[in-house]
């Protein structure tokens, strides 16, 4: 008996009980479509996250100052140490010019920004002229501040779109003078819209000013050269290990650290951040997929139940087939194939529904959706496996039946 014949017999058996077959498939349909939707959302979210993180900048490496572990005394948190200076940044830029495309310190302070009767509380970022290159952030109106202005601690700033919209609702901000804290600053330019960042923050809610001005004027620091963080942009991410090593060596030398001393800084690249974040989203995906798998398990048990009923119902047919020459293996194959067909037809319907559902969820809720061919193929194979696994026991029972008992069954 060839496979096509068994296939035909199984198809006919399913078709004869259309309603029952459809209800049996329902469990698999929901299970598979849930798997497809969950994977589409999960994969979409992590792909989106990676894209958002890369939006934060171009081959970015961050260096934080870190307090050296003193035996006693108060320890600050990350970036609270006093070891890193803007001069360190300039030295890296100068000596590792073959690796580093752009360099900027980053200092930040939260302050009130005032123009006439409007005011707004926002983050003031102190940075260098190369900051827009690192962040991949272009100026949309006016100009960014110059190196000259940076050296002179000029009271010059550039506004993010959110800040501009809030304190200049009806007016071009370029050329106006605003107050940051109680210091007057001239608005030299306006950055283009950057959107929501990888951590969900509004990246446009910011004012950019020379770090020299922020440190000396706004923060009135006694050690104006000290900075919380340095941001670098590399020519290529392939050189990340080499760059980390050379930056580390240079900083250790500049900070006069002995051979046994710990680093008083920490170098972090975007790849690390993105792998941590996608790890979180992968965990969520695995959890949700486990829930979907349980619903598939329930669907599989439904198939097993119906197949057991089907074997009892068709016991005379089984007896007859055996009497005219069906071997136990023939009967086993027939019922397993029937069960596999139930589950794979359900699986295909589930895949179609799942893809449609994921797409419409994406449209309605604006979620990022990514449907991978691999997850579709895996879902299909899984549905076939469910059919085989849960169909085996009923089919095995059918194949063990005694033809005489079957033929006499009333």
């Amino acid at each position: 008996m060839n496979l096509f014949m068994i296939f035909k017999v199984a198809m006919r058996a399913i078709w004869r009980n259309k309603t029952r077959s459809a209800l049996t498939m329902l469990g698999i349909i929901f299970g598979i479509s849930a798997v497809i939707v969950v994977l589409a959302i999960g994969k979409g979210a992590s792909a989106n996250m990676v894209a958002e993180i890369s939006k934060m900048g171009d081959n970015v490496v961050m260096i934080f100052s870190e307090q050296r572990h003193a035996a006693a005394g108060v320890h600050g948190g990350a970036g609270e140490g006093q070891s890193l200076t803007a001069s360190d940044g300039l030295a890296i830029r100068r000596e590792l010019a073959h690796l580093v495309k752009a360099e900027s310190p980053e200092v930040r302070t939260q302050m009130q920004v005032v123009f006439q009767d409007k005011n707004w509380n926002t983050s003031i970022y102190g940075c260098s002229t190369e900051f827009p290159t690192i962040r991949n952030w272009k100026i949309s109106e006016g100009d960014f501040f110059s190196e000259q202005e940076e050296k002179q601690c000029a009271r010059i700033c550039v506004l993010g779109q959110t800040v501009a919209n809030n304190i200049f609702p009806n007016q071009d901000p370029v050329g106006q003078t605003i107050r940051i804290g109680n210091m007057p600053f001239k608005v030299k330019g306006l950055m283009e819209t950057k959107g929501v960042g990888g951590m969900g923050q509004d990246q446009d809610d910011a004012v950019l000013a020379p770090y020299t001005t922020v440190r000396r004027v706004l923060q009135a620091s006694t050690f104006p050269d000290n900075v919380r963080q340095l941001k670098l942009s590399l020519y290529s991410m392939d050189q990340i290990e080499e760059a980390k090593e050379e930056i580390g060596a240079l900083l250790r030398q500049r900070h006069r650290l002995g051979e046994t001393a710990d680093d008083d800084f920490r170098i972090i690249d975007m790849a690390e951040i993105s792998s941590t974040l996608s790890g979180v989203s992968n965990t969520m995906t695995v959890l949700l997929a486990a829930v979907a798998a349980i619903s598939l398990l329930v669907g599989g048990i439904g198939i097993m139940n119906i197949m057991l009923v089907s074997v009892t119902e068709r016991i005379r047919e089984i007896g007859l087939r055996m009497a005219i020459g069906a071997t136990p293996v023939n009967i086993l194959a027939q019922f397993i194939l029937e069960s596999i067909m139930l589950s794979t037809v359900g699986g295909v319907i589930g895949i179609v529904l799942g893809i449609a559902g994921a797409r419409s969820l994406g449209d309605v809720l604006g979620w990022p959706i990514l449907i991978e061919t691999a997850s579709t193929v895996i879902a299909f194979l899984f549905s076939a496996f469910v059919g085989m696994f849960f169909g085996f026991y009923p089919a095995w029972r059918a194949s063990r039946l005694n033809p005489i008992d079957c033929l006499r069954y009333e």
Partner: protein, 239 residues
């Protein structure tokens, strides 16, 4: 040792079938010996519980004896696996049942084709051609597409006979073939059996009706697991 003699199509020796029901084992067959030659038309008779159905089941390779020997066409079949017995049934035996046992919602022609699905001897078109010929042979040439529900009892039984002949088996087993039929249909079916017997097909039939048994040439009478009468003259009486 003497070589096994192959003269008989069916040869059973000292066949026993013991059922362990409760504490007392019951012997459905208690040492039956019998031989049937090719071309014979045999009726097995007896009251219910006499062991005639058990004998037919064992002869039909649907059941295995507890002890004894059964040579079918010179081959020992008493102790074979389920799969081997299935293949023997498929190739050497045809079955006709009291309640026809056709596949429901399946056309007559596909019912007739069924034994070759498991044998795979013929290709698709050759199988269909042979099934059509067999339906014509049993007088149902134009009914190939009818399902069992669209056929009368007599017609269904004729489809079943055509199915039994599909793989050209040397022996046909019939278990009360007219038990569910009216007199007219019964006569038609028995005439068909007589024709087939005339063509050289061996027929072994179980029945409890004397007028049906009268079509057979040889009568076996069973009682309490024993073969008590073997009448080769074809006479019925004092049973």
């Amino acid at each position: 040792m003497k070589p096994v003699e192959n003269a008989h199509l069916i040869e059973i020796r000292d066949l026993r079938k013991i059922y362990a029901l409760g504490e007392e084992p019951v012997a459905a067959l208690d040492g039956v010996s019998l031989s049937i030659d090719a071309g014979e038309f045999v009726a097995i008779m007896g009251a219910s519980g006499s062991g005639k159905s058990t004998l037919l089941n064992i002869l039909g390779c649907l059941d295995t004896p507890t002890s004894g020997s059964y040579l079918l066409d010179g081959i020992e079949v008493a102790r074979r696996s389920r799969a081997e017995l299935a293949r023997i049934r498929n190739q050497k035996l045809g079955f006709v049942f009291q309640n026809f046992n056709l596949l429901a919602r399946t056309s007559a022609i596909e019912n007739v084709e069924l034994p070759d699905f498991y044998l795979g001897r013929l290709g698709h078109s050759a199988r269909r051609k042979r099934a059509k010929e067999l339906l014509e042979r049993v007088g149902l040439g134009g009914r190939g597409t009818h399902t069992p529900a669209q056929l009368s009892g007599g017609q269904q039984q004729r489809v079943a006979i055509a199915r039994a002949l599909m793989n050209e088996p040397p022996v046909l087993f019939a278990d009360e073939p007219t038990g569910n039929l009216d007199t007219k249909s019964s006569v038609e079916i028995m005439n068909l059996f007589t024709e087939l017997s005339g063509e050289g097909i061996t027929i072994v039939m179980v029945t409890h009706e004397d007028d049906i048994a009268a079509y057979a040439k040889r009568h076996l009478l069973m009682r309490d697991g024993h073969l008590i009468k073997d009448d080769k003259a074809g006479r019925i009486g004092q049973m």
